[in-house]
């Protein structure tokens, strides 16, 4: 019994890990309809900023997180102003090509600046090790991840998705010309949303890099997972991303425990089944 509960908890924790990694893309792709694969690169940047701040400048972990959010958000706005904004009207495939090109460039740049090897994270002692909760031995970092992810999800759903701002963003995506003529400062709204999306991606990278390992190939390694979570959840819904991340996380961990011989099949099969069942994602809107 204890082992089932532990496995379940680990599944939830993995689900939140997937959530924090994917939510940045969920914002730009889901809310702004911009296929920004470079979000994975922003995640990597978040990881590297965390490493630099912690290892080289000795800043505490919790202080680093807001720094990561702000810095990556700022970088993503710069990239948005310089490059992305010219591509809002192009089709999905062009955006894919553009952003995958940026991912390639980011990999080479990360190799140049930080070297090709994996980074070392010395996490603070309060966050490593295990804690006893209700008779279960749970990893402290996973407890932290679940808590942080849950707070983030609530904040995003009620602060971004279900608000006036969320509606404004959707209006700009629906019809940018008309939104402008209706008094919405579309440029500002897009830049702001992009900053949020980029900042979240950076935060996701910072929170997951410790568990997943950080090297210049980080974006390519996790791009597929991020895409799966966002698409299964459905475009335009942070709630959907959360549900998808938790479902896939729990299914993956349970699958590995009970049917280890199936390996990654379970998560892939689930993805295919979900997408055939609901081509627009679990909570996605129709065409």
């Amino acid at each position: 019994m204890a082992s089932i509960l532990t496995v379940l908890f680990n599944g939830v924790a993995y689900g939140f890990l997937l959530f924090v990694m994917s939510v940045g893309l969920s914002v730009t792709l889901g809310m702004m309809n911009f296929v920004n694969l470079a979000q994975a690169s922003f995640s990597m940047l978040g990881g590297y900023i965390l490493v630099t701040a912690m290892q080289s400048h000795g800043l505490p972990f919790l202080v680093c997180l807001p720094i990561v959010f702000v810095l990556v958000g700022a970088v993503s706005v710069i990239v948005e102003r310089l490059i992305f904004r010219h591509f809002y009207k192009t089709d999905d495939l062009t955006q894919v090509l553009l952003t995958i090109g940026l991912v390639f460039m980011s990999i080479a740049m990360a190799t140049y600046f930080w070297g090709g090897s994996y980074q070392r994270f010395d996490m603070p002692s309060w966050i490593i090790g295990q804690k006893e909760i209700f008779g279960l031995t749970l990893e402290t970092y996973r407890i932290f991840l679940v808590g942080f992810g849950a707070v983030m999800a609530v904040a995003l759903i009620f602060g971004l998705e279900r608000t006036q701002l969320g509606a404004m963003v959707r209006a700009c995506v629906d019809n940018r010309r008309v939104a402008g003529a209706c008094g919405l400062n579309t440029e500002l709204i897009f830049a702001f949303t992009f900053a949020i999306g980029g900042g979240l991606a950076g935060l996701g990278g910072a929170l997951s890099a410790n568990l997943l390992g950080l090297d210049p190939n980080f974006p390519l390694r996790y791009l597929v997972y991020i895409l799966i979570v966002v698409s299964v959840g459905g475009m335009g819904t942070i709630t959907g991303t959360l549900i998808a991340a938790l479902t896939l996380g729990i299914a993956d961990v349970l699958g590995k425990y009970y049917f280890p011989q199936f390996g990654s099949f379970i998560i892939y099969l689930l993805t295919v089944a979900f997408m055939l069942w609901r081509p627009h994602g679990l909570l996605g809107r129709g065409a």
């Binding site: 509606a167 008309v178 402008g180 003529a181 209706c182």
Partner: protein
């Protein structure tokens, strides 16, 4: 505020289009406060382009536009809207993935048009306030587009074929609503309309466009009475 007489909007030698393509050639006109001006003409003569030029959605190739005496031709669309230019576009360009209420709320600026008043004007919208705009019927979307334009409390309202595709009864309601807006709040209106009988019957002045230029300007009643001229300008007789 009104410096140049009572002109709310004055366009001088306006040339505009999309990118390099020129659609409008040297357009001159004024609208004064509380007036309703209609723009009529055949398909594709630049009527919609004229409204979009006032909104700032086209490429201005020459000339100037003054709104309440201020030059606005360099301002981006959202700033023009904030100055008081409201636009109800054709082809039902509402925000499909927003609810009716969200469509209004995100652009709402209170003033003369609180939400209750908009719903009073278009009761159908009130009944469907929680529905997504894409679920509305054509006529309801048309109403929503007009309500949305009013929500930003404009001093000048641009209407692009507001009664297109509407049932006769709704057309009457719409015309009544437009008249109400004018009488109650001194709204200035520029309306583009294919159905010239309705347009001319309810407006003060008219201009007729052809090939991007003004070929006629007069009082609406004058043109409405002159069948021969009307036929010549827009080929009414089948």
């Amino acid at each position: 505020m009104a410096h140049e007489g009572t002109n709310v909007l004055s366009a001088h030698n306006l040339s505009a289009g999309y990118g390099a393509a020129q659609v409008l050639h040297g357009i001159d006109f004024n609208v004064s406060r509380g007036e309703m001006l209609v723009v009529i003409g055949r398909n594709g003569v630049g009527k919609t382009t004229l409204l979009e030029t006032i909104c700032g959605l086209t490429t201005l190739q020459g000339g100037e536009i003054k709104f309440n005496g201020v030059n606005i031709e360099k301002l981006p669309p959202y700033k023009r809207n904030r100055l008081g230019i409201g636009w109800a576009p054709q082809e039902r360009e509402v925000f499909p993935s927003l609810t009716v209420e969200e469509n209004l709320a995100i652009v709402h600026r209170g003033g003369k048009w609180p939400l209750e008043k908009l719903y009073e004007l278009f009761p159908r919208l009130k009944a469907r306030r929680t529905n997504y705009a894409r679920q509305l019927s054509g006529g309801e979307q048309q109403m929503l587009a007009i309500a949305r334009a009013l929500a930003s409390d404009p001093a000048l309202l641009l209407l692009d074929e507001p009664v297109e595709g509407l049932a006769p009864l709704v057309v009457q309601e719409m015309v009544a609503a437009i008249n109400l807006m004018r009488t109650e709040s001194q709204m200035t209106i520029i309306m583009v309309e294919q159905k010239h009988e309705i347009a001319l019957a309810h407006s003060d002045r008219c201009i007729v466009l052809d090939h991007g230029a003004i070929v006629h300007a007069s009082k609406s009643s004058t043109l409405l009475a002159d069948h021969e001229l009307l036929d010549k300008l827009i080929g009414v007789a089948a």
